[in-house]
């Protein structure tokens, strides 16, 4: 007999419907899977047979053929175990096919018949909702899937439970999640800017970066709090909207990094990959394409500590996501797009020994070594980082001081205000490209929105000559001063805004030795 079960697969973060057809006929007993299964799918044969046996279903020996349609897309992962098992039960007449066409079924089976969680439950749930179908999946995924909507997601712990439900022997109520409440509950921080002692200069720079969405590079000796500062950047960024949270949650769902208890990413993600990461690890990819760190950091912060230690090719692949806000992975079979709108925060030492700018420890590096160290970061990448700041070592008095820093909440209020001004400013902009914050301005927009008076012009000229600033720095300084002015609520850019902005271009200055 032939049975048809609906299931789903995922390309990138786009779900598609998969029909699992199981045919059981008399003949030499065998089990074949067709429809471009990968190894995990092929192996499901053994898992399914064990799980069926250990759940108490004895199937007669038959020639069983499993087809996963559409047959031209590669199927991967273990989530077809459950549909195949149900399909076998239907095909051999153990379960009636009654209302099966109303369900999308997914789940990995353990040998004892219990269901293991799968990846991408939320995305599949979106699809089921769109098609007006119900969804059957492992209980551990049911909360995640219910974020897409309530009333059609059913979670189960074992194969037996699923069969009993399909046969109408048990009543199961659909999983319910109050998304707003969950979002509210989860959007709390355990860290705060007031934890950081001193480093007022760096804190100010972070505030500006957050306000304008500028990418940022921190340069300083080891142990001065670069990482600590970066970790707290998401706490002063504008709060995530529910829509943004769902976007990020979808990516995390596909990557399988969501927690089953609180399956929503309600605070801006902070991703800090180690510098040994590969380019595929950063942008996503691999034989079975998976979202990379840039996509996991979508709507949040990507922190690259020890920037010059990253392999060159890894840093260069950052260019497209930084520019476009998405990653396109082209493969022979498919092209996959992962969203990746993130703020880049990088940290590095000023020289190989780490003490070049340190007033208390002498630097032992030769000028050549420093030059070589810094040249590991390419110009095009540096072009995309607006703010560079020095994070100097702290003195004892600053560390031991009882003075509490400003709280994240207070800073965030200012950031929010500045962002509002920006959204207002770019609202009526014509053209295809949408701009939401100052960092996204290009030369054309800078000319329009960053007008400066003669006094400022003069200051900027002097600074450029004195510090040997490059042409690249000119635009960046204007952009940063625009954000500083926005933070203050000032419609024009004033000379002291320019003066502050000039400080944030450390790397454009000549190395003086």
């Amino acid at each position: 007999m032939l049975s048809k079960i609906l299931s789903a697969g995922i390309i990138g973060i786009e779900p598609y419907l998969v029909e699992v057809e199981v045919d059981a006929v008399r003949g030499l007993p065998s089990f074949t899977t067709v429809g471009l299964p990968d190894n995990a799918v092929k192996e499901s044969k053994d898992r399914v047979q064990s799980a069926l046996k250990n759940s108490g279903y004895l199937l007669p020996p038959q020639k069983i053929t499993v087809n996963l349609a559409p047959a031209d897309i590669k199927k991967e992962g273990a989530s077809y175990d459950l549909p195949i098992a149900i399909g076998m039960l239907v095909a051999t007449g153990k379960v009636s096919a009654g209302k099966l066409d109303k369900f999308v079924i997914l789940g990995e089976l353990a040998l004892d018949g219990t269901l293991r969680p799968i990846k991408g439950a939320l995305v599949v749930s979106d699809l089921a909702k769109k098609l007006g179908l119900s969804l059957i999946l492992p209980f551990k995924n049911s909360h995640e899937a219910a974020i897409a909507g309530s009333g059609f997601v059913y979670g189960f712990n074992t194969l037996r439970e699923v069969v009993d439900f399909l046969e109408g022997r048990t009543e199961v109520s659909p999983a319910q999640v109050d998304v707003e409440k969950l979002f509210e509950k989860e959007s709390k921080w355990s860290i705060d800017f007031s934890d950081v002692k001193g480093q007022e200069h760096a804190k100010r720079a972070l505030e500006i970066a957050a306000a304008g969405g500028h990418n940022m590079l921190m340069i300083g000796p080891p142990g001065t709090g670069k990482t600590m500062l970066a970790r707290r950047l998401p706490t002063i960024l504008p709060k995530m909207t529910l829509e943004e949270a769902l976007e990020t949650t979808r990516i995390h769902s596909v990557a399988g990094v969501l927690r089953s208890k609180n399956p929503i990413v309600a605070v801006r993600p902070f991703r800090a990959p180690h510098h040994t990461i590969s380019d595929a690890g950063l942008t996503g990819g691999g034989q079975i394409p998976k979202p990379g760190e840039v996509s996991l950091a979508h709507n949040g912060v990507l922190f690259l500590d020890e920037l010059p230690e990253f392999r060159r090719n890894v840093l260069e692949v950052l260019r497209q996501p930084l520019e476009d806000g998405f990653v396109v992975l082209s493969r022979a079979k498919t092209t996959i797009t992962y969203p990746s709108r993130f703020m880049l925060v990088a940290a590095m030492n000023p020289c190989p020994c780490g003490h070049y700018t340190d007033p208390y420890n002498p630097c032992t590096c030769t000028p050549l070594a420093i030059q070589r160290y810094r040249s590991k970061i390419s110009g095009p990448l540096l072009d995309r980082i607006d703010i560079h700041i020095d994070v100097p070592s702290l003195r004892y008095e600053e560390l031991a001081s009882k003075k509490e820093g400003e709280s994240s909440e207070k800073i965030r209020e200012r950031v929010d205000r500045a962002r509002k001004i920006q959204v207002e400013r770019f609202k009526n902009l014509k053209g295809k490209r949408k701009i939401y914050c100052n960092a996204q301005m290009e030369t054309k927009e800078i000319k329009v929105f960053c007008q400066i008076d003669d006094e400022s012009e003069n200051l900027l000229r002097v600074a450029m000559e004195k510090f040997g600033l490059s042409a690249r720095a000119y635009d960046k300084i204007l952009k940063i001063s625009r954000t500083i002015a926005d933070l203050e609520g000032s419609p024009e850019i004033k000379p002291y805004h320019i003066a502050e902005a000039i400080q944030y271009r450390t790397l454009d200055r000549n190395i003086d030795l």
Partner: protein, 124 residues
């Protein structure tokens, strides 16, 4: 030496036949041989044709008899089974099955019989 092995094998097959008959199987074929290989027993019960591989060992050997029915042996049996199905006028059947019966002798008239129903699937 060859003779002893052969003898033990024959003995095992006889034991298996009486064992299966006690269980209600009907013997269709014994030592069905083609140029691809041989199936020890082909029996029939409940509209199911069963191809049986009989493995006999003396108790002393350290290896389990079931271990020797590996994928190559399975393929051979599958191939012969297909030939059998093509060649014979078949009784009305619904299912086909591959079984393995292992017999271990531990002295005169003392044996341990193990019957693996559906031991493997059609292999190719």
């Amino acid at each position: 030496m060859q003779d002893i092995k052969h003898l033990i094998g024959k003995m095992g097959e006889e034991t298996a036949i009486s064992f299966l008959k006690r269980k209600g199987y009907k013997l269709l074929e014994k030592n069905f041989r083609t140029r691809n290989g041989e199936i020890d027993l082909i029996v029939y019960k409940n509209k199911t044709i069963v191809f049986v591989e009989v493995k006999t060992r003396k108790f002393k050997t350290p290896y389990l008899p079931e271990e020797s029915v590996n994928i190559y042996k399975q393929r051979k049996i599958s191939a012969v089974a297909k030939e059998y199905l093509l060649k014979k006028e078949l009784p009305e059947y619904n299912f086909l099955r591959f079984d393995v019966i292992t017999i271990r002798y531990s002295g005169r008239k003392k044996e341990e019989i193990e019957h693996y129903e559906g031991a493997f699937l059609n292999a190719f």
